[in-house]
Amino acid sequence: MAETQDDVWLGAWRRLVADPDEGGAFAALVHGPLTDALEDRYPWADPHAVATAVGDAVLAFLRRPAAYDLGRLPLFRYLLLIARRRLSHQREREGRHHRGRIPWDAVELAAPAGNEWEEDELSFQSADLQPVLASLSDAERRVLELMRDGERSTAAFVAALGLADRPVGEREAVVKRVKDRIKARLKRAAGGGT
């Protein structure tokens, strides 16, 4: 039976834990797929920022490969999560830099604090939420990821939902409707009422 990407990556991770000289091989294996995945999820992001975020994630991982717990998340998702957070932090830094010079959309969901991604990820592993998460469409899943990243730009959600060709007013209405629907479904599943 052919090895899956997860099998190959786990093999590389095990070699990395056992051998401190395997960093280059590990980086060469994961850099491209992580970059592709991050670009797929954030097609509007600056490619240089994506590459930097992936590089940051890889270097952070190489420092403490043994800290990865394969029982919690598949390695690809774990690394992608770190890279997403790095990209999000870059955007926050840029946002602070540009504050006052570009208009921000209304904030509906607070951005998680810098080191809370693990808690955020764990809360989303709650069994109560799994049926809802599994029922999300691909577009809804992208919207949820943006919400969890604290994305504030409507343009990002418009791109995620493929609404670029719709009239501006309609785009904003659809984005709001999708976000509200996702939040309501998650809230109900978590026992928070409607």
Binding site: P20, A25, A27, H31, G55, L59, L62
Partner: protein, 130 residues
């Protein structure tokens, strides 16, 4: 190996955890650009990136020699240059740590003494055989 990986390996030069830090400090000290560093090490772009992403060799003399020998053999690098670079990086790492922690400057002579102790195993200069 893609340009992105080369770039990430270069960026590791800011972090004393990686051998890249030692290679960057050595290149600065020797006023080498990347091609000159590669030539001194006998490295290709790929093997240089691999070397950069290795962990910094251990600080104790025996561990340092063992780690440098292993890395040099694995990636076909000039052992003497790698040993000089590793020592240069270790000194720079200690100084960086001292600055960050506010340790007094008189910690430096201890480092110099350690370097003198290590001179019994003087490596070949750049351009020498591996």
């Amino acid at each position: 190996m893609t340009e992105d990986v080369f770039h990430t390996a270069r960026r590791a030069g800011a972090d004393p955890f990686f051998l890249a830090f030692a290679l960057a400090r050595y290149a600065e000290e020797q006023q080498m650009d990347e091609p000159a560093l590669s030539a001194a090490l006998g490295a290709t772009p790929e093997t240089l990136a691999h070397a950069r992403l290795c962990q910094m060799p251990r600080a104790d003399p025996a561990g340092l020699k063992e780690d440098v020998d292993r890395i040099a053999a694995r990636f076909g690098l000039n052992r003497g240059v790698l040993l000089l670079a590793a020592r240069c990086g270790q000194v720079a790492a200690v100084h960086q740590f001292a600055v960050e922690q506010g340790v007094p400057e008189d910690a430096a002579p201890m480092l110099a003494a350690r370097d003198r102790d290590a001179e019994a195993d003087q490596p070949q200069p750049p351009g020498g055989g591996g």
